[in-house]
């Protein structure tokens, strides 16, 4: 523990100067650089008229197709070259396609021993009846981890661009206050038809999404598609009932924590096997009999993690496009 310095002594230290410079308390240019207050720019109407006339004259002369011979030639050349280029590209692509092996041909480079191994021993090694799920969440789990992070980074980027800033007191930032008004205030609220339909459909859609996620290792589907379905259901609910209803259970904090826990769970669960030479982490969930819902080890929890991230991301995209926040 260091002793707390008195204020005068602290003001002489490097740390004080550094942090005051970092926080912008002191302007280094103030008093050192000669500064004049800016004058307001006044438009001279005569000058403006002259500039416009000159501008028009130049444009008239340059784009005078009837008399400007070079321009005409250039236009012809441009059109001819673009047509030729398109034809060349089409021919190139068609020739390339005609040389490709037919779908499912034995000489295709896709049909090597990797695919054969996936098909032969995929069920035994991963425990997933759906070989695709076994592939993307077990053999190639690293790719799926990257995909989840791409989605997360995309949301963060949209958040940076579209977010409405609020300071600590909850007042909107004066710079962005007028830029992105919440466009829902112009809409009719409490649409009876939409609300009735949504109250029937939203539970079904969300249950269908959960079914797709939980059955990812047994049948077609998985984390990404199920998460997208759940996200679509949430968006429908939001459209019918407005932000005040959805903010009861889904706020920015919820989004942050769900994404953080899902992504870090995925990272920890899978990085163990990445770092220990692709040995499998011994899951608490046993491999079980293929076909049962609690089978195939780690694939089910990973599917749930991916599904949560995707559902939250889809909803967050919509909410940020709509009102610049959650």
């Amino acid at each position: 523990m260091s002793k707390r310095k008195p204020a005068e002594e602290y003001h002489k230290t490097f740390a004080f100067h550094f942090f005051s410079w970092l926080q912008g308390e002191k302007d280094p240019y103030l008093g050192n650089v000669e500064m004049k207050p800016q004058e307001e720019y006044v438009i001279d109407p005569e000058m403006q008229l002259r500039h416009e006339k000159e501008h028009d004259a130049i444009l008239d002369k340059v784009y005078d197709m009837a008399h400007n011979r070079e321009l005409r030639l250039f236009h012809r050349l441009y059109q001819a070259t673009s047509i030729l280029f398109c034809l060349f590209l089409m021919a190139l692509l068609l020739v390339t396609i005609s040389h490709l092996p037919a779908t499912g041909a034995a000489v295709k480079p896709v049909n090597n021993e990797v695919a054969a191994r996936y098909i032969e021993s995929g069920l035994e090694e991963t425990g997933a009846v759906n070989i695709v799920a076994g592939m993307i969440l077990d053999y190639r789990a690293f790719d799926t981890l990257g995909e989840s992070h791409v989605l997360f980074v995309a949301t963060i980027t949209v958040l940076i661009m579209l977010r409405l800033d609020k300071n600590k007191k909850g007042e909107p930032n004066p710079l962005t206050r007028d830029m992105n008004p919440n466009d829902r205030i112009y809409e009719p609220k409490n649409d009876a038809i939409l609300q009735l339909v949504a109250s029937f459909l939203v539970p079904i859609i969300i249950i269908f999404g959960i079914y797709i996620i939980l059955n990812g290792h047994l049948g077609p589907g998985g984390g990404f598609s199920g998460g997208a379905v759940i996200g679509a259901g949430l968006i429908l609910y939001l459209n019918a009932f407005g932000f005040s209803k959805t903010e009861r259970f889904f706020t920015e904090k919820t989004y942050k924590w769900i994404c953080f826990f899902s992504l870090s769970f995925y990272c920890l669960a899978k990085s163990y096997s990445f770092y220990t030479g692709a040995n499998h982490l011994h899951s608490i969930i046993p491999k079980g009999t293929p076909g049962a819902i609690l089978s195939s080890g780690l694939i089910l929890p990973l599917n749930i993690a991916v599904g949560l991230v995707v559902a939250c991301t889809m909803y967050a995209f919509y909410a940020m496009f709509r009102k610049g926040g959650f």
Partner: protein
Amino acid sequence: MTVFQIILMGLLIICAVSVSFSKNLLNSVLIYMSFSLVMSLLWICLESPDLAITEAAVGAGITSVLFFVTLKKIHAINIAEKSEEQKASQCPAPEKGGQDE
């Protein structure tokens, strides 16, 4: 390749061409949605139901919803309606805005 798949392929080409030739942005988004639906049917025919579910949820659902929101944000939907109303109400008036664009 069955007849059904060939019909779906034809629909795909029709959708892809008509998206680029449609003047109305809202129509283009709707055609794009139908493109995704046809594509998801085609995925089922090609025996990949995983992709079909994803295509239907993401391509036809969420992407188009985001397109709609964007069109609404930039007032592209309202402007189209307004210009049609203006054309209907004052047909002989000379169009000033056309030359600027």
